[in-house]
């Protein structure tokens, strides 16, 4: 009988959520849109257009300037376009300042002459320092100049003839090389976190599950204010049973939401969540449980639906960036990492990263699972106590 009431409460919640078709957009559409677009911004997908252009104005038009330009190999980061006109320093600067080019190089006339007499030639490089393509072009430019400086230094030092062939051969095929490799799960199939979607997919799944739960705090407050909970109480439902129903309904809905999002992420963006199904299931259970409990705790403190909206939005929008759901925690200072790792959002995304990158299972992820477990127990306890006191 009591179980029937509980199941009925869960059923009512799920039906209520799904009856509003716009909820489907918030449950699944918006998170997927965020994952895909943010994945693009973090570099998962090719935008379909060519790389940004680095414009070169070569006023020298010599073999030396052409050699220098030839060493700007943008690859996928940028494309080099040598202007037909000689241009000017001001033109090059304006193109970047107006945001029309990521970077420009102006080579004034006299480069070759200056090099031939051993003088110092001046080049001008303008760039938008916030753009990756501009920084890549700057690095390549500095590398090209470094090669030129090395060659000139060798020529200056040479007692007789400078051996250009030996220099070229050692420059293009250096004896001392650095080979780098990632250590982790299945290195050979490139599952490291260099694909933006491997961060954004799980991160936005966590964020929108939490956000949906916290934004539904207003529903609980409304039900309390319009007497629905009191009527249920009068209908022989105990406070504990009601608290259970208010928790389990959203919990089940959260699990459904997270399952669909993770499956969509896997299908659309090819995300592989690791080798441990147990870890994945445990993470989903714990995280959705924590979000549900937190929502119920907040609902017991809010007096009006408007207040609930403010609190829900504040909680979800602060816990997401602090926990590393907007950007990976490794890019923030260590004290911010420590704060992030204490939060359920930080623990959740770290478990995902370790499952994807390192192939961790339940045991290896133990510390973060324990953290989530503590959050769940504490919040569940507070939610149940507060809720019982509120309606009893």
């Amino acid at each position: 009988m009591r179980l029937n009431v509980l199941i009925a409460l869960i059923d009512v919640h799920i039906r209520k959520v799904l009856a509003d078709k716009s909820n489907l957009f918030w449950l699944f559409g918006m998170p997927m849109m965020f994952s895909i677009l943010m994945g693009m911004m973090f570099g998962s997908f090719d935008g379909g257009s060519g790389p940004p252009e680095v414009r070169v104005y070569d006023a020298d038009r010599s073999e030396a300037s052409r050699d220098l330009i030839a060493q700007l190999d943008g690859g996928e980061a940028y494309a080099v376009a040598v202007s037909d006109t000689v241009g000017s320093e001001e033109m090059a600067r304006t193109l970047v300042n107006d945001g029309r080019r990521t970077a420009t190089l102006y080579i004034p006339a006299g480069l070759a002459d200056s090099l031939s007499i051993g003088g110092t030639a001046r080049l001008f490089f303008f760039h938008d320092a916030d753009r990756f393509s501009a920084q890549s072009a700057r690095t390549d430019m500095e590398m090209a100049i470094f090669r030129l400086e090395a060659e000139r230094a060798g020529r200056r030092a040479a007692a007789i003839d400078f051996d250009q062939a030996r220099f070229d051969s050692l420059w293009s095929e250096p004896r001392l090389t650095l080979e780098s490799e990632f250590l982790g799960r299945r290195e050979q199939v490139e599952l490291k976190l260099d694909k933006g979607a491997q961060h954004t997919g799980p991160a936005y799944a966590l964020m929108f599950v939490m956000m949906f739960m916290l934004m539904s705090v207003r529903d609980v407050v409304s039900e309390r204010r319009n007497g629905t909970l009191t009527r249920l109480r009068l209908g022989a439902a105990s406070p504990g049973l009601l608290a259970g129903g208010m928790l389990l309904g959203p919990w089940v809905m959260g699990l459904v939401q997270m399952t669909v999002l993770l499956v969509l992420n896997a299908v659309v963006m090819g995300i592989d969540y690791g080798d441990s199904l147990a870890s994945l299931v445990l993470l989903m259970l714990l995280f959705t449980g924590v979000a549900t409990s937190l929502a119920l705790v907040l609902a017991t403190f809010c007096r009006t639906p408007g207040q609930a909206d403010g609190v829900g939005m504040t909680a979800s929008l602060t816990m997401a960036p602090l926990g590393g759901l907007w950007w990976p925690l490794e890019v923030v200072p260590s004290f911010m990492q420590k704060i992030g790792l204490v939060l359920p959002t930080g623990q959740g995304i770290t478990i995902f990263h370790d499952m994807i990158g390192r192939g961790y299972g339940v045991v290896e992820n133990g510390a973060n699972f324990l953290g989530l477990g503590i959050w769940l127990v504490v919040l569940l306890g507070i939610a149940t106590l507060r809720f019982r006191r509120l309606i009893d």
Binding site: S22, L123, H127, E142, T314, L317
Partner: protein, 443 residues
């Protein structure tokens, strides 16, 4: 007079709602604080702290010291010499981000003229820091390669000694201290003297190469978009206030929520019957709409003014060189967003529908319009799409004033586009209002 009363009533009601104030003012400041702290603001620790780097290699202590000094001097690494097994475990578990593996026969192979490869193990979950380690090590190796290429170009015959000389040099240099080497030279065997002569030649040539490198052939002037001139290899100054980047984006993001909420008021007043009562008064529906638009615009202006003022006090926000630039940009932004969300309100049927659709539209526009991530980092097609959102022009205008420290003349395009949006969407809102009145579904 009546319109003024309506505007005053709306403003008082809005600012008496504490949750609205939290979302409009507190949340953007808190999020800006989080972003600033995350990326090195408030004078705190910069985003990048010293990176622990394990080094593995069985090298003579002199060589170890040399490598240790070279890595530590960069100020970026915390170097620990360790075993291969321990380094692998630490990198695999993410306790350290990278390990440099130097082969045991590194010195012998390198000085025998053979190709030598060092390996960098990187933490699979550390795209950022491990990537930095790799870049810095590549740059350090580049200096060695450049020196070697220049040397061999200059003296092709004397770099690699033949095997007999090599062994003579090797024997002379055996041991871990300069004292041992000095004693052998003082003992004066022919082999030691020959080896020493050979070493002197090599060292003389090294000095000559080093001297040759001090003469600069090319002076590369690097200038970034802010006009800051940087020396070669120099990064832009970190002293720039990072909050100048984040606060405008957050302010515009939450301004959109306020404008959306104000637009949704039409539905709330309709559902509660207030709208019907107001239309009984001498006010026309058009005047009501204009009153709502003026209220939303003034409300937005007030919100932005408070955010920027608190931003100045708390985060040291730059308000630009021109006292008119920021207020004008804020006014035109508020007007454009007020018009935009009034149209959205008149296209929806209920307050709930308006709330859901406007939140979706706000999140989407914020994402592509540069409120979360600068549009420069987006693929080309998204950068083009961003230009069709009002918040892009608002963000770009505020950034130009606050981050680039430009005046009013630098944001004329932004102001023109935003003013155009304000006028066009307000006209569209009036048109939609008449259509709904004619259909009779406004009340």
């Amino acid at each position: 007079m009546l319109v003024r009363t309506l505007i005053g009533k709306d403003l008082r009601r809005w600012w008496s709602d504490r949750s609205a104030v939290v979302v409009a003012l507190v949340l953007p400041l808190v999020l800006t604080g989080i972003m600033g702290l995350s990326f090195g603001g408030l004078g705190g620790e910069a985003g990048l702290s010293t990176i622990p780097l394990a080094v593995v290699g069985d090298l003579p202590s002199m060589a170890q010291d040399f490598i240790d000094d070279a890595l530590t001097e960069t100020g970026l690494f915390e170097v620990t010499w360790t075993s291969r097994e321990y380094a692998e475990d630490q990198v695999r578990t993410g306790k350290i981000r990278a390990a440099l593996i130097i082969p045991d026969d590194f010195a012998q192979s390198y000085f025998a003229g053979e190709a030598v490869q060092v390996t960098l193990w990187k933490d699979i979950n550390s795209e950022f820091k491990a990537g930095i380690v790799e870049q810095i090590l590549e740059r350090m190796l580049l200096y060695i390669r450049a020196g070697e290429a220049a040397y061999i170009g200059a003296w092709p015959d004397d770099w690699y000694p033949d095997s007999a000389e090599e062994s003579a040099i090797a024997r002379l240099l055996e041991g871990d201290s300069f004292l041992d080497v000095y004693k052998r030279i003082r003992e004066g065997s022919t082999e030691a003297e020959d080896a020493w002569t050979q070493i002197q030649t090599l060292m003389d040539h090294q000095v000559e190469i080093q001297d040759a490198f001090t003469v600069q052939s090319v002076d590369l002037r690097v200038e970034d978009r802010s006009g800051q001139e940087l020396a070669e290899n120099e990064a832009p100054q970190a002293s720039r206030n990072i909050f100048n980047y984040f606060l405008p984006g957050m302010a515009v993001f939450f301004l959109m929520f306020s404008a959306g909420g104000a637009g949704g008021d039409i539905h709330r007043e309709r559902e509660e019957g207030t709208l019907r009562r107001m239309l009984v008064s001498p006010l026309s529906s058009r005047e009501l709409l204009l009153g709502k638009w003026v209220f939303t615009t003034l409300n937005g202006l007030l919100q932005l003014s408070i955010l920027f003022a608190v931003g100045k006090l708390v985060y040291g926000l730059n308000l630009g060189p021109d006292p008119f630039a920021l207020p004008v940009q804020a006014l035109v932004t508020s007007a454009a967003l007020a018009s935009f969300f009034l149209v959205l309100a008149l296209l929806t049927r209920t307050e709930k529908q308006m709330g859901q659709i406007s939140t979706g539209v706000i999140l989407f526009m914020a994402m592509i319009g540069g409120n979360f991530i600068a549009t420069e980092f987006m693929p080309d097609f998204l950068r083009v799409a961003a230009r069709f959102t009002p918040n892009y022009w608002a963000n770009d205008g505020f950034s130009t004033i606050v981050s680039l420290n430009e005046g009013l003349s630098a944001v004329t395009t932004n102001l023109a586009v935003l003013a155009g949006i304000a006028v066009a969407f307000l006209a569209l809102a009036i048109l939609l209002l008449h259509v709904r009145e004619r259909r009779g579904d406004l009340l």
